[in-house]
Symmetry: C2
Subunit: 216 residues, 2 copies
DNA sequence: CCTTGTGAATCGTTTCACAGCC
DNA sequence: GGCTGTGAAACGATTCACAAGG
């Protein structure tokens, strides 16, 4: 498997959504330029990105929708269901636990945790909220690969440490703090304030034309 | 004002958080290498990034914490409070409306909207939820610069159109759909499924060492 | 000494442009 | 004809390395 850059992965995820839609609409094939138009990418980008799947395009006609949809889905999800933990049953954690798109993309929430004694033991949707104190012991059994950490900044690092000890390999971190992790553990940060700040700044800059383009 | 790349803006936002903390701890100055260590960036990146503020560093000692904290805050927030609208009072919208970091960074929620008749007119925190039908007329009065769109994909585009007509300049889009916008309008997409997919993929790739580094 | 600011080199990604194939 | 796959050029961001200044 070749290395794929992060911008390319993000675009591939977007193509996947589009291919799913095209399939549902019964489209048979799509060209790199059409797909680029829809996805906000250039035709050349689309071709280079999709090349990672190993040359599924047909010269003269474009990319066969159902083949690419299947391969791309398989490839991005990497062919299996991944168990994930959600740490924190506050607003963000609860919203995440019912996020509709996860299941469709092969993620299965196998545990929701919180520290609030009022919450621990109660049901939320299909989940019984468990105590963060038990994360490590339970994780050893559940073997989640990825954890979604949605707790206050103060406690995020210590929970991350426990999760790593329990063998987690990836953390989607919603706490506004930079987690220190061992080599080989992948952290991805999601922070609304940063997103808003970046957006606001780009708005401010929108007149400056320095680089060739900027797409969403 | 010079153009600043998106990666640089994201790092600057991170430095700001660190500088705020350093200030609170009473630190007087910090070097590019120390800051880089904390922020997960190289010393050279830190220096280039902070250069955008116009050479506040002192050779031999580093960057004066309180000066940089102030300037950076002023610069990123670009010196004013920005009114924002939240469209959608579902889980995401409600979580956003009370997101603590926004106020601190100069964002003020001036309206929360939903289409559900059961919600419209009710209070949520300090906000009375208003009908999305009235977005356009109210926006003309409230003059929000930015809208946080957290509604189902189907209705996102039409609301975006109304918002643009009402003079919005930036959209933080939580709907899993690519919004078509006029030139000059900045859209930033936030999609948990994509984030999870990217994370999972990076986990899968973590052994491939192709590029020099990969930091969160 | 120390650390910044900055040209110049490097590296990765995007774009170009066209050969190859349907 | 149309469109993909792909070397090669262009571009942007990062890193190097050092001169300038405390």
């Amino acid at each position: 498997m070749k290395f794929v850059s992060e911008p390319s992965i993000r675009r591939l995820a977007r193509y996947l959504r589009i291919f799913d839609e095209l399939k549902q609409r019964g489209e048979e094939s799509i060209s790199s330029s059409e797909l680029g138009q829809i996805a906000g990418a250039t035709a050349a980008q689309v071709r280079r990105d999709l090349l990672a799947l190993g040359g599924l395009g047909r010269r003269g006609t474009g990319y066969p929708v159902s083949d690419v949809a299947r391969e791309l889905g398989r490839w991005l999800a990497v062919s299996r269901t991944r168990p994930v933990y959600i740490i924190g049953a506050g607003k963000i954690g609860r919203a995440l636990s019912r996020y509709p798109g996860f299941v469709q993309r092969g993620f299965r929430v196998v545990g929701v945790f919180d520290n609030d004694p009022k919450k621990v033991g109660t049901k939320y949707g299909d989940f019984t909220i468990r105590s963060i104190r038990d994360v490590q012991s339970l994780a050893t059994k559940d073997r989640p690969e990825i954890a979604l950490v949605a707790i206050p900044a103060e406690s995020a690092q210590s929970v991350a440490d426990e999760l790593m000890d329990a063998g987690i390999t990836g953390i989607l971190n919603f706490a506004p703090v930079l987690l220190k992790v061992r080599k080989g553990i992948v952290v991805q940060n999601v922070d609304m304030t940063t997103e808003l700040l970046v957006l606001a700044f780009r708005v401010e800059q929108r007149h400056l034309v320095t680089p060739k383009k900027r797409l969403a």
